[in-house]
Amino acid sequence: MDGFFLALWILRIAFLGVLFLFLYGVARVLVRDLRRAERDQRTELGRLVVVATEGDSPPTGAVFALDVVTTIGRAASNTVVVDDQFASTEHAMLTFRGRAWYLEDLGSTNGTYVQGERIEAPVAIGFGDEFTVGRARLRLERGRT
C-alpha cells in the first residue's frame, strides 16, 4: 500500500519533471539561437529579387543585397545594372529611410511602375511588393539574418 503510493507519487513528480525537461530543451536551443543572432547581426537591409525579365542581365531569379541607397538603371555606374532597352541610364532609386523602403523614379523615359501604376513621387514600398523597371520585374524582400 505505502509502496504503491510512493511509486505513484514519484511518477507524478516525474511527469511534471519531464514537462519541464521539455521546456528546458526548447529554451536551450532558443538561447543558442539568440546568441547566434546577436553574433552575426543582420547585414542586409533588404534584398532585391528579379522576378521576370526580357533582357539577359540580370537573369530571372538573381538576388541583390541592398544598401541604404541603391540605384537601378542601364548605366554601369548603377548599383543594380538592368540591361534592358526599355530602362533608362539612371532609372530609379531605392532608399531606406528610418525603417521603410522608398522607391523613387529618377526621371526615366518609360517610368517606374508599382502595382501597375506609374509613380510620380517617392513612394513607400513594403517587403513583397513588386515594381517594374523597363521590362524587368523586381521584388523587394526582407534581408536574411
Binding site: 505513484l8 519541464f20 528579379v50 543585397a65 517587403f127
Partner: protein
C-alpha cells in the same frame, strides 16, 4: 483602385521563378546544373543565385541521407534532430501521465498497482504524432522543429484530461459505435494532426490566400450568416451549425479567415496606412478611406458575433484586429483609438445586455451568488486552490467526485482549471510555458518572412492563438471576466482543434519557404 481587381501583373511568374529549379530539373530529365548559372562573385551589388536553385544533390544545412543519383526525383529525407528529441520527451511525459491517471483510477476501484490501463488511446495519438514527424523527415522538410512537439504536448495534455473526465460529458453515436469524450477528442486530434501535416507539406505558395482575400472574408461572413439562420442554439448562444451528424462552430474557422483578410489587405495598403493620416482637430487619425473596408469587415464580424452572444469570440476578433493593425503600421495611435473604442463599446454592451452584466458582476464578486451565477467561477477558484504547488495528481482531483463534473463546462471552457488542479501550480506553469513556445516560434517565423503578407499572416495566426489562450486562462483564473472560449489544443472541441491546426500547418509551411529561400 478597385480592390476586387487582381493585380495587373499576375504573380504566377513569382511562383515559377522562386521554384524555378524544379521544372528546369524535370525538363532535363536528370540532375542538371542550376538553371541560373551566374559566374559572378557573391557579395554586395552582384547578383547571387538563390541557394535552392542548385542541383538536387546539394543539400544545405542539416544532415541528409545519401541517395543514389538515379533517385534524384525523390524528396530527400532530412533528419529533424530537435523535433525527434522533443517528441521523445513528449512521448515519455504522456505515457507517465496516462500511467498515473490509470493507476489512480484503478486505486479508486480497489486495485493497488501501477498500470497503463487500456493503451489504445495514448498509442493511437502518439503513433499519429510520430507518423507526422516521420512524414516531415522523409519529405525533407526544413520547417520549424519546435511547433509540432509543443502542439503535440498540448494536445496530449488535452487528451489526458478528456480521458480523465467522465466519458458521458459528450457522446456521439456513429452507426454501431458509441464514442465517449476521450474517443471523440482523439478522433479530432488525429484529424487535426492530419491537417497540420497536409498543410505543412502541400502548401508551396501563398497566392491562393493572398489573391482571394475578399473571397475568403466573404466566405467567412456567409458561414456566420448561415449559422445565424440555420444554427442550433446551445446554452443560449447560437453557435453551432450541423450537417448530418457532425456539428461545428464556424466562428472558430472565421478567426483564421479574418486573419487572412487582414494580412492581405494590410500588406497591400501598408505603406499608405503607415504614412498618411487624416487630421481631425488635434487628433491625427489613420487615413479613413483605406481603413473603411477593414472597419466594415470588423463591424460585420463583431455585430454578428454579438447577436450570437459569443462574447469570447467578439473579444478575440477585436484584439486580433488591433494587434495585426499595430504589427502592420507600428503606430500607437491605432491602438489608443482601439482602446478608446473598446472601453466605449464595453460600456454600451454592459448597459444593454443582461448577460454581459452577469459576467462582469460574477467577475467582481463571484461569492455574491456562490450557488447561482457565481457557481462556475467559485468552483474553478477552489480547484486552483486545491491544486497547490504539485497538484492533486491526475485522476485525484475533485472532478472525480460523483459521476458528474464539479465545474460546469470543465472539458471546454475550464480545461486549464482542471489541469491546474491536478498538475498543480508547476503543471499550470508548464502549460503556459508550452503556449509561449508556440507563440515565440510563430512570431519568429513572422519576423523572418521575406515579404509583408506572410509576415502579417504568420503574426496574425500566432497572435490569434496567443490572445485566445490569454483570454481563457485569464478568465479561468478570474483575472478578467470569463468569456466562453476554448483553450487552443487543450479543450475538447472539433472546430477549435481544426482551426488551431490550420494555423499551425500554415506556420509550418511558411517557415519551410523561409528556410528554403
Amino acid at each position: 483602385m478597385n480592390p476586387q481587381e487582381p493585380p495587373e501583373e499576375p504573380p504566377a511568374p513569382t511562383h515559377s521563378a522562386r521554384f524555378g529549379a524544379a521544372p528546369a530539373r524535370s525538363a532535363r530529365g536528370g540532375p542538371a546544373a542550376a538553371p541560373h548559372d551566374v559566374a559572378a562573385p557573391p557579395g554586395h551589388g552582384s547578383p547571387s543565385v538563390p541557394n535552392d536553385a542548385g542541383p538536387p544533390a546539394a543539400p544545405r544545412g542539416g544532415a541528409a541521407w545519401p541517395v543514389p543519383a538515379s533517385l534524384w526525383w525523390l524528396p530527400r529525407p532530412r533528419f529533424r534532430r530537435h523535433e525527434t528529441g522533443l517528441l521523445a520527451l513528449v512521448t515519455v511525459a504522456l505515457l507517465l501521465g496516462f500511467v498515473t491517471l490509470r493507476s489512480q483510477q484503478a486505486m479508486a476501484d480497489g486495485h493497488d498497482r501501477l498500470t497503463l490501463g487500456d493503451p489504445t488511446i495514448p498509442l493511437i495519438y502518439l503513433g499519429t504524432v510520430w507518423a507526422v514527424h516521420l512524414l516531415f523527415t522523409l519529405t525533407g522538410r526544413r520547417s520549424d522543429q519546435f511547433l509540432l512537439p509543443a502542439v503535440a504536448l498540448l494536445g496530449g495534455l488535452g487528451l489526458l484530461l478528456a480521458a480523465r473526465l467522465p466519458q458521458s460529458l459528450v457522446t456521439q453515436q456513429f452507426g454501431p459505435y458509441a464514442l465517449g469524450l476521450a474517443d471523440l477528442q482523439l478522433l479530432w486530434l488525429v484529424i487535426g494532426l492530419a491537417v497540420v501535416a497536409w498543410l505543412a507539406i502541400a502548401v508551396r505558395s501563398d497566392n491562393w490566400l493572398r489573391l482571394y482575400k475578399y473571397s475568403w472574408a466573404g466566405a467567412g461572413i456567409v458561414l456566420l450568416l448561415a449559422v445565424f439562420l440555420f444554427g442550433r442554439e446551445v446554452n443560449g448562444a447560437r453557435l453551432t451549425l450541423c450537417a448530418g451528424p457532425v456539428c461545428g462552430q464556424p466562428s472558430e474557422l472565421l478567426k483564421v479567415l479574418l486573419v487572412v483578410f487582414l494580412a492581405g489587405y494590410l500588406s497591400e495598403n501598408r505603406g499608405l496606412l503607415a504614412t498618411q493620416r487624416t487630421r481631425v482637430g488635434p487628433v491625427s487619425l489613420p487615413p479613413l478611406p483605406y481603413l473603411l473596408p477593414m472597419l466594415a469587415m470588423w463591424a460585420i464580424a463583431l455585430s454578428i458575433v454579438i447577436v450570437q452572444r459569443d462574447l469570447g469570440a467578439a473579444l478575440l476578433f477585436y484584439s486580433v484586429f488591433l494587434a495585426v493593425l499595430f504589427v502592420a503600421t507600428a503606430r500607437w495611435s491605432y491602438v489608443a483609438l482601439g482602446a478608446v473604442l473598446f472601453v466605449a463599446g464595453s460600456g454600451v454592451l454592459y448597459a444593454l445586455f443582461p448577460h454581459v452584466r452577469v459576467r462582469v458582476d460574477v467577475w467582481l464578486d463571484p461569492f455574491a451568488d456562490p450557488l447561482g451565477a457565481g457557481y462556475q467561477t467559485v468552483r474553478a477558484l477552489f480547484a486552483f486552490g486545491r491544486g497547490g504547488i504539485l497538484g492533486t495528481g491526475l485522476g485525484a482531483g475533485l472532478p472525480a467526485a460523483g459521476g458528474g463534473s464539479a465545474i460546469p463546462a470543465v472539458h471546454t471552457d475550464f480545461a486549464f482549471t482542471a489541469l491546474a488542479e491536478e498538475l498543480g501550480y508547476l503543471g499550470a506553469l508548464a502549460i503556459i510555458g508550452t503556449y509561449l513556445v508556440v507563440i515565440q516560434r510563430g512570431l519568429r517565423i513572422a519576423a523572418r518572412s521575406a515579404d509583408d503578407f506572410r509576415a502579417l499572416l504568420a503574426a496574425g495566426l500566432t497572435l490569434t492563438i496567443g490572445i485566445q489562450t490569454a483570454i481563457i486562462i485569464g478568465g479561468n483564473a478570474r483575472l478578467i471576466p470569463l468569456t466562453g472560449i476554448t483553450a487552443p489544443y487543450l479543450s475538447y472541441g472539433g472546430s477549435s482543434i481544426i482551426a488551431s491546426a490550420v494555423a499551425v500547418g500554415l506556420l509550418l509551411a511558411f517557415s519551410e519557404r523561409e528556410a528554403a529561400r
